[in-house]
């Protein structure tokens, strides 16, 4: 046969130009070494730190259960913060999410809603929590507000993305019946995104339980505030108790979250 097919084939490289490809690899490697160099690892401090770590762990045992009332109060407060923030966030996320879906709203509305989401997602919960603690003082109010802000932007972003990815045919069909915008949302959009919306909200509940323990460390209420206090007073035996309880709660939160999301279709 004159027309022989090739027997070797290579997957096309991501970057076709070899100069660019190897150049970029070399640059990345050079930057990696530069970054490691700038860490200034002081081996003396590391060697001093290790025995200190050992002594902290030693003082953690046996765990202290005597102040369980403080523990329970902190835990309940954290859970309450997480629940409240998730529910408020779920409702506020609906209008924001709809406005952030490019296939539903005019361009200017979309841009404003997206900017709000981007802006709130820029800052980590801890930074937002510090901000709210400065405004409203120590306590769970600052914590709840922090988690609401984080939940709204997270759920709204997911909601918007789902709306943008949904099947256009179902929406087109409802539009063709002469339905108004809100009826279109009700019959064309909601059935398509509702299960995912609930799934994302349940996931956010699970995340909020975890985050509620963190925001407490900067004074925004909940078990995190109690934990932070035990560290600064060197009550490591109580710290380990709190940490163990957080692990248990987060663990069960995750199991519940997985179970509930699995049941949604």
């Amino acid at each position: 046969m004159s027309n022989v097919h090739p027997t070797v084939w290579h997957r096309p490289s991501l970057i076709e130009n070899p100069w660019l490809r190897y150049g970029l690899t070399a640059l990345a490697l050079a930057y990696l070494f530069l970054s490691i160099g700038s860490l200034e690892i002081d081996w003396e401090r590391v060697s001093k730190g290790l025995p200190r770590a050992a002594s902290i762990f030693e003082r953690m045992f046996p765990p202290d259960f005597s102040r369980w009332d403080l523990l329970v109060r902190g835990m309940v407060e954290s859970l309450e913060m997480a629940f409240a923030a998730t529910f408020i966030g779920m409702f506020l996320a609906i209008p924001l999410g709809l406005c952030a879906a490019s296939n539903l709203v005019p361009r200017p509305v979309y841009l404003v809603a997206r900017s709000i989401i981007v802006l709130t997602r820029t800052f980590h919960e801890v930074i937002i929590a510090i901000f709210f603690v400065k405004i409203f003082g120590f306590g769970p109010l600052a914590g709840v507000l922090t988690l609401v802000v984080a939940s709204v932007s997270f759920i709204a972003k997911m909601l918007a993305e789902d709306i943008e990815n949904m099947g256009p045919g179902q929406v087109e069909a409802i539009k063709a019946t002469g339905a108004s915008f809100f009826k279109l949302l009700l019959y064309g959009v909601a059935p398509q995104i509702l299960p995912r919306y609930l799934g994302v909200s349940i996931y956010r509940m699970d995340a909020n339980i975890r985050h509620s323990t963190v925001v407490g460390i900067v004074g925004a209420g909940g078990i995190g505030q109690t934990l932070s206090a035990t560290f600064s007073r060197y009550d490591y035996d109580f710290s380990i108790t709190i940490l163990a309880c957080i692990i248990i709660i987060v663990f069960f939160g995750e199991i519940f979250s997985n179970w509930a999301r699995g049941r949604l279709r």
Binding site: G167, G169, Q170, E172, A173, I174, K175, A176, T177, G178, A179, S180, F182, K183, L186, Y187, G188, P191, Q192, L194, P195
Partner: protein, 266 residues
């Protein structure tokens, strides 16, 4: 009833999906639009209910020019026009009954729609149509549990419960097997003519078009190149519409009863 004059749809790239199309339908009849993919069939029917915005031209339905309508007036016009889709476009997570009743959305308040409390007449009409399309007892089934043929039957019921003045149908059978395709076409044409609704059907399948339509329109490159009786659709005309091919199977059988095995060749 329906009068289209000089309808043109040009995309920003300059290509014309529709080029100065004119046609009118004066009696309740089934008009089949045939033509190769990209001839502008889908664009034509979507320009009628404005799911696609025409660039210029007039579409007049019983005296209303649909092209200039906006907002509420456009929605009022849309509820007078039923539409059936190739991929059925049922809302998957809603029940069959909700899908059918969504055809009445243009007539109920938001609260009624939200609470699913449609007027008694609408509900009984929905049950009657469900019976007529052969899906008695399926009202509580979710749309994603239905087969292709069953879905299209729900699609037909959803469009007809609007009691439309015009029925637009986009490739209703392209995703169905030949037997189901014939059953679906028969039910659709029967119900449409019963309600005296003129019907425009885009269809790939020439024998199917010839056996169910009263009139055939052939399109090519955004223009109408044939408009007439199904029996006048000769091999020459098919070549004019689609280009050179062996058309003996499609053109020979004047009564349209071509063997089903040959139905998919267009």
């Amino acid at each position: 009833m329906l009068k289209i004059e000089g309808l043109t749809k040009a995309y920003t790239t300059g290509t014309k999906a529709l080029n100065n199309v004119s046609l009118s339908i004066d009696e309740p009849q089934v008009v089949a639009i045939i033509g190769p993919s990209g001839a502008g069939k889908s664009t034509l029917i979507r320009c009628i209910n404005r799911l696609v915005e025409p660039t210029s031209g007039v579409v007049e339905l019983n005296g209303t020019n649909l092209v200039t309508l906006k907002g509420g007036a456009l929605r009022k016009a849309r509820r007078r026009i039923g539409m059936i889709f190739q991929e059925y476009n049922l809302v998957e997570r809603l029940t069959v009954m909700e899908n059918i009743l969504s055809g009445r959305l243009g007539y109920v308040s938001f609260l009624q729609a939200f609470r699913r409390s449609f007027p008694k007449d609408d509900v009984s009409a929905a049950f009657r149509l469900l019976d007529r399309v052969g899906l008695k007892g399926y009202q509580d089934t979710r749309a994603d549990a239905l087969s292709g043929g069953q879905r299209q039957r729900v699609g037909i019921a959803r469009a007809l419960i609007q009691r439309p003045e015009l029925l637009l149908v986009d490739e209703p059978t392209a995703s169905l097997d030949p037997k189901t395709a014939r059953q679906v076409m028969r039910i659709m044409v029967e119900l449409a003519l019963e309600q005296n609704t003129p019907t425009i059907v885009n269809i790939h399948d020439v024998p199917l078009a010839k056996s169910f339509a009263n009139r055939v329109i052939g399109m090519r490159d955004g223009e109408i190149v044939f408009d007439g009786n199904p029996d006048d659709l000769t091999e020459t005309e098919l070549t004019n519409i689609y280009g050179e091919e062996d058309w003996s199977a499609e053109a020979a059988n004047k009564n349209g009863d071509a063997p089903l095995a040959q139905a998919a060749t267009s």
